[in-house]
């Protein structure tokens, strides 16, 4: 039995989720009594393979074809590896790229697919935990049959650490280039301007709770008097109230400041994914049940339109 985890990289670097995937893969492999194999495809695959050699990894397969992610290449490479390794469980990150190839490979290998998993267990079969209805409920899903493909939500597992003693092999997969239907022509920074949330040490972030665009002045003022950098959740950016480069979260910046104040942000997973690495999280929200309080270190249950002006007053 084996678990095959597929690492993810971009722009010459492995993404954090790759190491989290190792932890999830190891846990599952232990529960199922299986080996943990890791695949890394494209880019500087050999160097990535060295990096991925963390504790608990049994074997790493580096496929050295192409530079950046291309789902057609990934599908072909994984198909080839699967033919060889016959993995019981295929693990991929529940990322934008993960969702671009995992469903296809699951379908082509005829594996049941469970996406966006936040917990995994093995009890004579795979039992996955995932959320539904915008994180309002959690569900457990049992997979019939022996095999499955799973995409794993980023930041749910800690990254694997330590130096492993995995066997690293370079695999030469014959990629059928005529079957490649997508051509990546480049990358564009959606962000504009010179805001660098990633480097900020103190971030004040605003969400739907601000209600109207004009109310943003209030937050701007708070940032001004406190010297904080302003961030936001996705809806604010979707409404064009703030430029894209202000967005914290899965599709925006992933930030790790000393202090992160989330104002009027409920704490949807997509947002949390971008800020849970903050040293201290402080939430201001009217709803005491808002999920943001689950990850906050400090909280104020109250109306931002009262608390923020009072806070501004404190510093003026």
């Amino acid at each position: 039995m084996s678990v095959l985890a597929v690492a993810e990289h971009r722009n010459g670097e492995l993404r954090d989720v790759s190491f989290e995937l190792l932890t999830a893969g190891r846990e599952l492999a232990d529960a199922a009594g299986a080996d943990l194999h890791v695949a890394v495809i494209s880019g500087d695959a050999e160097a990535f393979a060295e990096e991925l050699n963390r504790e608990g990894v049994d074997a790493i397969h580096a496929v050295t074809y192409g530079d950046e992610f291309n789902h057609d290449v990934y599908v072909q490479a994984i198909e080839a590896l699967a033919a060889d390794l016959d993995p019981t469980f295929l693990l991929a990150p529940n990322s934008v790229n993960g969702l671009d190839y995992a469903p296809a490979i699951a379908e082509s290998l005829d594996l049941p697919l469970v996406t966006d998993v936040i917990d995994l267990a093995y009890d004579d079969g795979l039992v996955a935990t995932r959320e539904m209805y915008g994180s309002k409920v959690e569900t457990t899903i049992e997979v019939d049959g022996d095999r499955a493909a799973v995409t794993v939500r980023p930041t749910e597992w800690p990254p694997a650490e330590g130096l492993g003693d995995a066997e690293i092999g370079v695999v030469d997969v014959a990629i059928d280039e005529s079957a490649i239907g997508s051509t990546i022509t480049g990358f564009e920074e959606a962000a504009e301007g010179d805001v660098n949330l990633e480097d900020a040490e103190f971030i004040v972030s605003i969400g739907r709770g601000i209600e109207e665009e004009e109310n943003l002045e209030l937050i701007e003022e708070l940032c001004e008097v406190t010297g904080a950098t302003m961030g936001s959740s996705r809806p604010i950016v979707d409404n064009d109230w703030l430029p894209d480069n202000r967005q914290v979260g899965q599709s925006g910046a992933v930030v790790t400041p000393d202090v992160y104040i989330a104002i009027g942000i409920s704490g949807a997973v997509q947002h949390v994914a971008g800020m849970k690495g903050s040293d201290t999280i402080i939430a201001i929200n009217t709803d005491p049940n808002a999920p943001i309080f689950d990850i906050a270190d400090y909280g104020i249950v109250g109306d931002l339109f009262e608390v923020v002006p009072a806070l501004i007053e404190e510093f003026e």
Binding site: E212, E214, N239, F305
Partner: protein, 713 residues
């Protein structure tokens, strides 16, 4: 020189020194001019006749309409509103012009009718003398009025006279009138001089003065010279005048007819009640110029570009992209360009390729200031609603407003909250509210969306509940059967959703036993009072999609009393049911008239009476009553975001603090509308007025007075 003076008949020769051929040519030209005039007028009215039927009857009681329109026009009252200078200017020109027109007509009757029939003239003797005195006096006023107009247009360059559509036709019009007036007096002067200053012509004092100036005033023109010059000036003046007559239907002077027709065909309830939408699903709103009704087309032609609407428009004042005059004139220009063979384009759309941009209509607050200011009864809101309905039909709806409409569709209220929690605001009261669906009540109180769900306005609702309770009124509410009233979404153009809400409410009202419907919100009051009774529910009787069974007109004969709460409580105060002595409070306050209570429904005094009943001293802002300046929340403005500078609410708070006769002493800004409350609480924060002024509802002021009394006794 004909020795007319010798005959000493007190009159003046007509066609003096023109000759028979000249006279014949003149009559011919006059006939041509009149034909051109008639044809032009006919062509214009043919366009109106081809327009769509108007949903409101506009020609009923026609004689009364004409008399009323004549009163409005002749009194010039609309022109005096908000602008005395322009009022005097227009009055002088109007009255002067009409007098000259009547005078000329009298002379024509004498010459061409009375003279040929009787061989005599009545334009002699005392009649002649008084005729000339009046003509010269009114001609002088006419000239002064034109002078005032030119001074304002060219020297002062008054901003409202210079808009996107200001063109050479505006210059031509005023200069034509000017030359007509000056030419007339010059001609008269030449005649008087040429005829050797007949003594009785002193009554033609302006002409006489001109003659004196020509003769002695350094010009030294001799009587013979004047006589020689007379035919030349006569012809210039005659041709000029006839050209003017012929041009009337083709340019701005046509407003003399079109504006009058517009006043005759006005709908006195325009704006407060919007036209219904035909149930025919193929009906289009503004896909082409043919979709406009004849009256909407006439509106466009009635416009004189005076800019009064734009000058009072709060959207324009806050730099939102709306100029009401331009909308009306853009539509007119587009219609006329099509007649000239231009290519068709969408009337309204998002993105700048249409006649009117979607943003322009989103900017409208439906406050009706434009209609109140318009001297010629242009009903902007009817055309604007047509455009809004087209936008809604096309799906071009602001994302925030889409959310609101979805909330109303799925939840029944604009907040998207559950209807079950609608009456939760009352939990903090120390008495229970009656359920008007189960108990017979005096007041069926329609609380409204904002007072039910918005925290600040919940305080107002509780104040009002305590007032009713203090007055021992039996009142009840509808709990979850109270939904959004629909007034503003109707103005945005979502008509069928409006009908759903109206149907639900009238059906609910019919199942309740009550004396009066009392509304917190003037918007609710307006639509219940003016619009629900006109909704054609029978038309929807068999409609499977309409979630109501009600199939009659509701309250057609006005049996059901609908009141704004200030009107109801004013009665209570008058009956001394609140036990106020009138000296409970000593605040210095100002009051802001909500558009939907004031301009829409002419209720200005009830809220003021209530404020005074508390003892507070009330100081008026310059823009009060019908001139009130919208808070910015109407017409869906509450739900949208605008780049505006200054925000209407901030500008209004500035007015309250700077422009009343109490100076900066005003401590409370009193409102009577939940939307105003929300907008001004917001403007107070964004405009940094928090330390200067508080926003309170009349109900909050009243309950404070009532409770101060109870605490004191």
């Amino acid at each position: 020189m004909t020795l007319l003076a010798a005959t000493a008949e007190v009159t003046r020769p007509t066609f003096w020194n023109i000759g028979d051929v000249g006279k014949a040519i003149f009559y011919y030209l006059a006939a041509v001019a009149i034909l051109l005039f008639l044809f032009g007028v006919y062509a214009r009215f043919r366009t109106y006749a081809a327009g769509r039927d108007d949903p409101f009857s506009r020609l009923d009681a026609f004689p009364r309409r004409v008399i009323e329109a004549a009163r409005i026009a002749l009194s010039n009252e609309k022109n005096f509103d908000r602008d005395l200078y322009a009022g005097i200017m227009h009055a002088f020109i109007l009255w002067g012009f009409l007098t000259l027109l009547i005078g000329t007509t009298i002379l024509a009757i004498d010459m061409d009718l009375y003279g040929p029939l009787t061989g005599e003239s009545f334009w002699v003797g005392d009649f002649y003398l008084s005729y000339q005195l009046v003509m010269d006096a009114m001609g002088l006023l006419f000239t002064v009025g034109i002078g005032m107009a030119m001074y304002r247009r060219y020297w002062v360059r008054n901003h409202r006279l210079w808009g996107r559509h200001t063109s050479v036709e505006d210059d031509l019009f005023i200069w034509t009138l000017f030359v007509l007036a000056v030419g007339g007096f010059l001609l008269e002067g030449l005649g008087i001089l040429g005829r050797g200053f007949p003594e009785w012509e002193v009554v033609s004092f302006v002409g006489y003065f001109v003659a004196l100036v020509l003769h002695a005033g350094g010009l030294g023109l001799s009587p013979a010279g004047a006589e020689a010059l007379y035919p030349v000036v006569w012809w210039l003046h005659a041709v000029h005048a006839l050209a003017f007559v012929a041009a009337i239907p083709y340019a701005k002077p046509f407003h003399m007819l079109s504006s009058f027709a517009n006043v005759v065909t006005r709908d006195e309830k325009a704006g407060t009640r919007l036209p219904e939408v035909p149930t025919d699903l193929d009906h289009t709103f503004a896909e082409s110029v043919d979709d406009f009704t004849w009256r909407e087309t006439l509106d466009q032609d009635a416009c004189t570009k005076c800019g009064r609407c734009s000058a009072v428009c709060p959207a324009k004042a806050s730099s939102r992209p709306l100029d009401p005059r331009d909308v009306i004139l853009d539509l007119k220009a587009y219609r006329e360009s099509l007649a000239d063979g231009a290519e068709e384009k969408p009337i309204i759309a998002d993105g700048g390729t249409s006649v009117i941009d979607a943003e322009t209509m989103e900017s409208c607050m439906a406050c009706m200031a434009c209609m109140d200011a318009c001297p010629v009864e242009i009903e902007h809101l009817n055309s604007f609603t047509r455009l809004n309905r087209q936008l809604t039909d096309q799906g071009d709806v602001d994302a925030n407003v889409q959310d609101v409409l979805q909330n109303v569709q799925f939840d029944g209220n604009t907040f998207g909250e559950s209807q079950e929690s609608r009456a939760d605001w009352a939990d903090e009261l120390d008495f229970d509210l009656a359920d008007a669906r189960e108990t017979e009540v005096e007041y069926l109180w329609y609380v409204g969306d904002y007072p039910s769900y918005d925290d600040r306005n919940k305080q107002v609702a509780r104040s009002l509940a305590r007032l009713f309770d203090a007055a021992d009124v039996e009142f009840g509410i509808l709990f979850e059967d109270e939904k959004y009233d629909g007034n503003d979404i109707r103005r945005i153009g979502e008509e069928l959703l409006y009908v759903e809400l109206a149907g639900h409410h009238v059906e609910t009202f019919e199942d309740c036993a009550f004396e009066k419907v009392v509304c917190t919100d003037p918007h609710s009051y307006n639509t219940f009072e003016n619009e629900y009774p006109e909704v054609d529910f029978p038309e929807y009787a068999d409609d499977e999609f309409m979630p109501f069974e009600y199939d009659e007109f509701w309250n057609e004969d006005g049996d059901v009393d609908v009141l704004h709460w200030t009107q109801a409580v004013e009665e209570l105060v008058r009956d001394d049911r609140l036990g106020l002595s009138g000296n409970e409070l000593d605040y210095t306050v100002t009051y802001h008239d909500p558009c939907h209570l004031g301009r829409y429904n002419d209720e200005y005094e009830a809220p003021r009476e209530l404020i005074r009943a508390t003892g507070a001293s009330l100081h008026e802002m310059p823009r009060n009553r019908a001139d009130s300046f919208c808070c910015g929340g109407g017409g869906g403005g509450l739900w949208m975001d605008f780049d505006e500078e200054p925000k209407p609410s901030e500008e209004r708070l500035r007015e309250a603090l700077e422009d009343t006769d109490a100076g900066g002493a005003v401590e409370k800004f009193v409102v009577a509308c939940p939307m105003c409350m929300t907008m001004y609480e917001d403007g107070r924060k964004t405009g940094n007025f928090e330390d200067d002024i508080e926003i309170v509802d009349v109900a909050e002021l009243l309950i404070e007075a009532v409770e101060a009394n109870h605490g004191g006794s």
